[in-house]
Every structure is written in structure tokens, then in C-alpha cells.
């Protein structure tokens, strides 16, 4: 098992080295400032940006750390609000098959709409680009959690609900001792899908609204033709995405139960 793992890591690192080598070789002939930058140039930029991630020289010149913090702040507000609403609604839908069937067509219609398509409506109605971006995050992380919670609650074994009924547990006690723990694996699976799509949406939303955030940073660096910064930002965005997913992955292992 351990040997297997070591071999997997070896192969992965080897693949990365081969990729970086080809990349570096293919841009070797380019003059500085022309064509795509190579990995060495990107690494230099990364080192520079990471040396001082939190500087603030006015609206168009902030450190990468500040950009990520402002994106993560938006993500947190929109995602947490959406998750609370989705879990709450999902519990109701999951407990009532009638309600579920009545609401399901609307969920199916709303779910596939790109969250960014709401942006103009949000901008028009609330007249504030920052809040509009948060609402886009809200819309992007609502549906997976809602659908998964409803499914998870509906699939809780009838016996557990019968026990709760016999014990005459209050609505709240029933929720926290039976319904939420019973549906938890499905809920967390939904939360995990949601945070992925929210992180994807925030970058695009920030490109549109401007100001701060990692999406705006990428667009701004493109306008400055700083491709090394763009490439570094792409890698950093992916890294944060992986960390967010891993965090929820740990949570899901903790809440899993064997029947």
C-alpha cells in the first residue's frame, strides 16, 4: 500500500517535470516580453508577489494576498448564506413528498442557468456591484446543496423517523438528532459541489465588476499584458479551490456513518 503510494507520487512528479520541461523548451526562443512566458519567468513573478502579498498602493495595485482575501470574503458571505437557505429549504422538501414534487419543476428550470446570467438583473435591482457579485455566488452555490439535502432527507430510513415520532421529540430535537445527522453525508456532498461552482463563478463575476478580487486581478494583469502574473494567478486559484474541496472532504469523512 505504502509502496504503491510512493510510486504514484513518483510518477506524478515525473509527469510535472516533463510538462515543465516541454513548456520551458517551447518558449526558450522567445524574446523577453514577447510570446508566452516560460515556467522560470512565472516562478520569478510568483516569488516576487509572494514576498509581499499584502501591499496596497491604491485601487489598481494591491498584493495578491489582498486580492484573494477579498475574493474569499465574498465567497464566504454568498456561500454560507446560500448553504443555510439551501439546507433549510431542502429539509422541508425532503420531509414532504408533495412539496418536493410541487417545487421540483422550478428547481429544474432555475438550476441550469449560469449564475453569471443573473448579474445584470442584480446590478439593476440592487445598484451595487459588490453585493451583486455576492448574489452571484449565492445563486451558484444554492442548487447543488438544495437538491442533495432534499434527497438526503427523503432517503433517511423510516425507522429513524418512527423512533423520533415515538419519543415525541420536538421539531428542533428531531432536526438535530435525526434529520440532519441522517442526511449529513448527502448534504456535505452537495456543499462540496457548491463550493466548487462558487469558486469558479467568483472569478468570472469579479472580472465583470472590477475593483478587487482575484478575478479582477487576472483581468487587470491581462490588460497590462503581464502574462506571468496571469499564469501564476491561475495556479493559485486552482490551489485554493483544491484546499476548499479538501476541507469539505474531511468533513464528509467525519460525518459518514455505516448503516
Amino acid at each position: 500500500m505504502g509502496e504503491d503510494r510512493a510510486r504514484v507520487i513518483c510518477y506524478s512528479l515525473l509527469l510535472a517535470l516533463v510538462f515543465l520541461g516541454i513548456w520551458q523548451a517551447s518558449v526558450a526562443g522567445n524574446k523577453p516580453g514577447k510570446g508566452l512566458p516560460g515556467p522560470v519567468a512565472v516562478a520569478q513573478t510568483a516569488a516576487e508577489m509572494l514576498a509581499n502579498p499584502f501591499y496596497n498602493n491604491g485601487p489598481n495595485d494591491k498584493g495578491i494576498g489582498l486580492q484573494f482575501l477579498s475574493s474569499l470574503g465574498r465567497l464566504a458571505i454568498g456561500y454560507i448564506a446560500a448553504s443555510v437557505v439551501a439546507v433549510f429549504l431542502g429539509v422541508f422538501l425532503g420531509l414532504s413528498p408533495t412539496l418536493y414534487r410541487a417545487v421540483n419543476p422550478y428547481v429544474q428550470i432555475l438550476k441550469p442557468i449560469s449564475p453569471l446570467a443573473w448579474m445584470p438583473l442584480f446590478l439593476y435591482t440592487i445598484q451595487d456591484s459588490g453585493s451583486a457579485a455576492v448574489l452571484v455566488i449565492f445563486m451558484s452555490s444554492l442548487w447543488p446543496t438544495l437538491a442533495n439535502t432534499a434527497f438526503g432527507v427523503a432517503s433517511i430510513r423510516k425507522d429513524y423517523l418512527n423512533v423520533a415520532a415515538i419519543l415525541q421529540l420536538s421539531w428542533w430535537r428531531r432536526l438535530v438528532t435525526v434529520i440532519l445527522p441522517g442526511a449529513a453525508p448527502a448534504v456535505v456532498a452537495g456543499l462540496r459541489i457548491s463550493i466548487g461552482s462558487a469558486w469558479v463563478a467568483i472569478v468570472a463575476a469579479e472580472m465583470l465588476i472590477g475593483g478587487t478580487g482575484v478575478g479582477y486581478f487576472v483581468w487587470n494583469e491581462w490588460n497590462n499584458l503581464q502574462l506571468t502574473s496571469v499564469i501564476f494567478a491561475i495556479l493559485a486559484i486552482r490551489l485554493i479551490g483544491v484546499l476548499l474541496d479538501a476541507g469539505l472532504g474531511r468533513l464528509s469523512r467525519k460525518l459518514a456513518y455505516a448503516d
Binding site: 415525541q168 421529540l169 438528532t177 445527522p181 456513518y257
Partner: protein, 279 residues
Amino acid sequence: MAFLEIDHVSKTFPAPDGRGHVTVFRDVAFGLAEGEFLTMVGHSGCGKSTLLNIIAGLEQPSAGGVVLEGREIVGPGIDRMVVFQNFALMPWLSVFENVRVAVRAARPTWSTAQIAAWVQRYVDMVGLTGAEKKRPAALSGGMRQRVGLARAFSTEPKVPLLDEPFAQIDALTRGVIQDELVRMWTASRNTVFMVTHDVDEAILLSDRIALMTAGPDVRLAEIIEVKIPRPRTRAELIDDPEYLRLRTHILHFLMEVGRRSPVQDELAATTGRTATLKR
């Protein structure tokens, strides 16, 4: 009026083909005196578990009703805690927590320390000391049902309802847990309603045994009294002439009602399936 009165209860389901109704059982009427242990024995599909669910308040009778201490049962309640055939322990809670949920619900005014002490008492009583922090998935079937019994009896229900509690437990363990149930019941002297198809189990535990005919359209055939003095042990029962007489009587009865035409058998099988699904 008896302590627990089953008053001419009938249960029908809509027929699978959508036309009319299938009667599971009809006009079942008997009473349990306070402190009495009554067991219902019948073929699978005779609706005995359905009747237990009706007493629990989890299902509604199609006609008739159930009266406990002079009040009609309209829904589930903690005074009629069920021990389930498939245990129905919350898999995300530990042994201790599974029992604690019930005690906390039964004794809302108690302090946390009081509740914990009470839970520990019942966990010890069923021999699970040391396994308090384990989840049900880590336990054998026998140990799980011990938790089920501790959970039910720790709430001191007026009428514990036992729904084939030992059906999924291997024969050797079954005997040990039956002895534990006898001990717990002797201490509490609750009124108990149990459903089983294990004749020996019924005789060992019961004051009276209700026999159901085979399905469809099941009736209560007879109620026989078990006059073997308590305390009873399985070892002593084997040689008791009264035990042998009752056992033969019940087995003959079950074989008699089981001897039906193939058409009836098929009907019984289909309604039986409907009844189990509804459970």
C-alpha cells in the same frame, strides 16, 4: 375495561390492482391487564406487526380503535416505546447516546447528570458496560438489540411493544438476551405486547398467547393462558409437561391453519407481502 384494550380493530389496504380492498385482519379484540405479558403468534403476513404498529400509533386502524388507560390512542407516544425487529438504532450515535436520546425525551425535567446515571444503569443492565462509545455498526446483532431493549425499557414505558425483537439474532445469543429481557421485565413488571413467530420464545416470556389464523382475512383464533409459574428458565422449561402441552397445541394450531388450498396460500402470500411492505 382492561389496561390496554384492542377494540375490534380491522386493517385493510387498497388492493394492488386498484380495485377494492384487501383485508389483512378483521375484528381483533382483546385486552391486556396491567403488568401482563401478552404475545401474539401467527404466520408471517397475518398482520401481527401491523397490529403492533397500530398500538404504537405509527399506523391507523381501518376500523375499531385502541384504548390505553381509558384514553384512545391517536398517535405515537413515549408511553408505548417499540423494540424493532431491525433494531432501528441511529447509526450516527454511540450506544450511550442512542439510549440517552430516549431518556432525555422521557424525562425532560432531569439534569444532565441524572440522565447520564440512568442511561449508564440500563447500559450496565444489558451487559454493554465498556461499549458505551461504540457505534451500532461496530456491534453484533445481539448487542444491537441489547441497546434496543435498554433504550425501550430506560424510558419506563407503560406498554413496551416488542416487534419480533429476536428474529434477526442467532439462536444461541437469542436465549441469553431472552433471559435478560425476563430479568428486566421482572424488575419493571410493565405491561408488554410482543409479536413473534417463535413458539418457544412466546411460552417462555408470556402470561397469555394470542393465536392468529393465516391470511388473508385474518381473525384472532384463540388466546391461551401460560400457567407455568415464574421465574421460568429455558433449561427448566424443556422438561415441564405444561410447556410441552402448550408447545404441541400451538404448533398443531399453526399447522392446521397453515393447511389451506394452494389458491388461498397464494393469496396469503400476496397480502402478506403487501402487509410487510406497508410496515
